[in-house]
């Protein structure tokens, strides 16, 4: 079954009462709705800022895939590492990054999460255990195995206990075709590394549909199975489903200290990057997926379950708009990096023209508030 031509029907699991579908508390559901609304609004403003030339470089929009980042991060603990590719704003916000640092990063300001040195594709958040934002397709997959290796090493070798952690390593369906990913999977299986390779299968890598670019596209988890890694296929447009299924995957990976691979079927509603006219897919296909909008689905489920009413939803949405507006103002007021910043953070040590390193505001602020 292909994710592109045959998406899951929008209301696949929507019929049953909420309480039967999820163990999540009303507060959790509210939080997911809030996060998805925040990401959506953030991305809409990001597109505007890009068009206004306040943001440069490559910029990849997460609209449509919100349920993936939100549901997956909810299924693990805050101390569990997360690493992803360049379509990373959603993961940063779902992980808890204040949108002001994310926006300032894209504005190239000193208040950005990486002091404006990384840009849209390279979001890092140490206090929230987000280890990037990585621009080279597939680059994060061996890193993900390494993060999980380190956590297990800390738990078992340094602390002398048992593994307590699991790492979320997100990748696009296009990254399935990078050699490094196969090496990472083999290592993870061989060394019993608890990393979950979450494939955000949105059906396309740039203009190439998964059928055109990837063998076994109807069953990509076979690639993990070839390494002895358990695979799961999960419908990715419904945050409750993502959470419930990912919770099981994560709990198992943590308990067994084993890797897993997840094929999360989703769709990016916008172009690949800001300069993509999307001629490789039909408007019909887009509309089909848009009817399964993850925000609408959670909203309707919560209204149906009596957890929110229309006014409550509107108020929540408005609050996110305010939050993003404040983030933009904050980012605009953050100064450009001083030119001397060129030579900071190159080496830890000071020598020659290099002036050592320091933590960005996202870290010092977190330390102060602790």
């Amino acid at each position: 079954m292909s994710s592109v031509t045959d998406p899951a029907p929008p209301a696949a699991s929507g019929g049953r009462p909420l309480a039967e579908r999820t163990s999540a508390t009303p507060a959790q559901l509210h939080e997911w709705l809030r996060q998805m609304l925040l990401i959506r609004e953030f991305e809409v403003r990001t597109m505007q800022a890009y068009q206004d030339k306040k943001i440069g470089g490559f910029c990849h929009i997460y609209i449509g895939q919100e349920a993936v980042a939100v549901g997956c991060t909810a299924a693990v603990q805050h101390a569990d590492p997360v690493v992803t590719a360049y379509r990373d704003h959603g993961h940063a916000l779902a992980r808890g990054m204040d949108p002001k640092y994310c926006m300032a990063e894209m504005f190239g300001r000193i208040g950005g999460c990486a002091k404006g040195k990384g840009g849209s594709m390279h979001m890092f958040d140490k206090p929230n255990n987000l280890f990037g934002g990585h621009g080279i397709v597939g680059a994060q997959t061996p890193l993900g195995a390494g993060l999980a290796f380190a956590k297990k090493y800390q738990d078992e070798v340094i602390e002398g206990g048992v593994n307590k952690h699991v790492t979320l390593c997100f990748l696009g369906d296009g990254a399935l075709n990078q050699g490094g990913f196969y090496e990472a999977m083999n290592l993870a299986s061989l060394f019993d590394i608890p990393v979950i390779f979450v494939v955000e299968n949105n059906g396309y890598s740039m203009g190439t549909s998964i059928e055109r670019g990837t063998s076994m596209s109807h069953r990509i988890i076979a690639k993990g199975e070839g390494c002895g890694i358990k695979g799961y296929e999960i419908e990715g447009m419904d945050v409750i489903t993502v959470y419930e299924e990912m919770k099981k995957v994560a709990d198992t990976a943590r308990a067994e200290s084993r890797p897993a691979m997840v094929d999360l079927r989703t769709y990016r509603f916008k172009g690949h990057s800001m300069s993509d006219p999307r001629k490789y897919r039909t408007r019909d296909e887009e509309e089909h997926w848009e009817t399964g909008d993850p925000i609408t689905r959670l909203r309707d489920a919560m209204i149906g379950g009596g957890l929110i009413d229309t006014d409550g939803f509107k108020a929540l949405n408005k609050a996110q708009k305010v939050a993003v507006r404040e983030a933009i103002t904050w980012a605009e007021n953050s100064p450009e990096p001083d030119l001397s910043e060129l030579y900071t953070d190159v080496y830890v040590e000071k020598f020659g023209p290099y002036t050592g390193t320091s933590m960005p505001q996202i870290v010092t602020d977190a330390e102060e508030s602790r």
């Binding site: 440069g56 040195k117 597939g138 203009g207 450009e336 030579y343």
Partner: protein
């Protein structure tokens, strides 16, 4: 000069098209080159012109498809590999550095590697440090490969056509920043020989040597400096391997000064190589040591202001020229 004016990207395509019509062994492969018309529209229309057997969309598997093309070249085909960006060639480092340039040598002359690898190179688009590589710094270190880096549309066509006909592996470095640049480009066969630098602007006080996009920074700086009464001769090196040291030496013997402008990092770079060779050939002709302007010796930053300062921009070139001429 040709009357016709076209974009740099179209000049590249014309070279590929003409050579593909001439030689059925030539084919193009890379990400998005066929149905998408190329991520930067360089191969626009080529799928219709040549069909999917010769214009081949690949998955994001640089190591795999570059290695595959090298194997095909060993058997006598003449592949053109497009990397969307040379920054993505790093995941294919082994095939392109360990196989392509050494195959002839390792096989004692039995198997050559007539391949062209082309794509965007260089910073300037706020793409951050993973996507802004200037690979001429690292890759020009490797014997067995040729390296071409055109700065103008007519050279884009003439040098790419020469690259495709070349029997050795050619690393062809384009700049995304130049793809929309327009210029006169001859319509028919047009071949620019490798190892022939060209004087882009004659001058008398100092020789500026550069390759690729920074040639334009040099021309901008020369324009500014002319207002101060400083006359710069600007040389566009065109190919880094082979390097046309003769044209450079001839110019330096006339001007008695030399500033090399190279967008890669300074340490072990084409710029340091040119400087060393000029010192060796022109020791007695120089009024000052050769000066070099490179990208700052740090990873490429994203922030617009940092990136501008990072580049070997016209201001930094002008400063180096004044310093070279002892002008305060």
């Amino acid at each position: 000069m040709s009357e016709r004016i076209i974009e740099f990207r179209d000049a590249l395509r014309e070279a590929m098209s003409q050579e593909m019509h001439r030689d059925p062994r030539v084919f193009l492969l890379g990400e998005e080159v066929a149905q998408y018309d190329g991520a930067y529209k360089v191969s626009r229309g080529m799928l219709e012109e040549f069909g999917p057997r010769r214009i081949i969309d690949t998955p994001i598997s640089e190591s795999g498809f570059a290695g595959m093309a090298i194997g095909a070249a060993m058997l006598g085909l003449r592949p053109i590999v497009e990397f969307m960006s040379w920054s993505f060639s790093l995941v294919a480092a082994d095939p392109i550095l360990n196989n392509a340039p050494k195959m002839l040598y390792m096989s004692g002359g039995q198997f050559g590697c007539p391949i062209v690898i082309r794509g965007n190179d260089g910073a300037g688009g706020q793409l951050g440090s993973t996507h802004s590589w200037c690979v001429e710094g690292m890759f020009s270190n490797v014997p067995g490969l040729k390296m071409a880096i055109p700065a103008f549309p007519d050279d884009a066509k003439g040098m790419l056509a020469t690259a495709i006909r070349d029997d050795d592996p050619v690393f062809f470095l384009e700049s995304e920043r130049l793809l929309a640049m327009k210029g006169h480009v001859p319509e028919g066969d047009h071949y620019v020989p490798f190892g022939k630098a060209v004087v882009r602007r004659p001058g008398t006080d100092v020789t500026l040597v550069s390759f690729g996009r920074p040639v334009h920074f040099c021309l901008d700086a020369a324009e500014e400096l002319a207002k101060e009464g400083i006359s710069c001769e600007v040389i566009d090196g065109r190919t880094i391997r082979p390097l046309d040291i003769d044209t450079i030496v001839e110019s330096v013997r006339k001007t008695n000064g030399c500033v090399v402008v190279d967008q890669s990092w300074s340490f072990g770079s084409p710029g340091s190589e040119v400087a060393a060779q000029v010192h060796a050939h022109c020791f007695d002709d120089l009024d000052n040591h050769v000066m070099r302007v490179h990208s700052a010796d740090v990873p490429t930053p994203y922030a617009a202001n940092l990136e501008q300062e990072y580049l070997p921009n016209a201001r930094r070139i002008a400063e180096a020229v004044r310093s070279s001429l002892y002008v305060a």
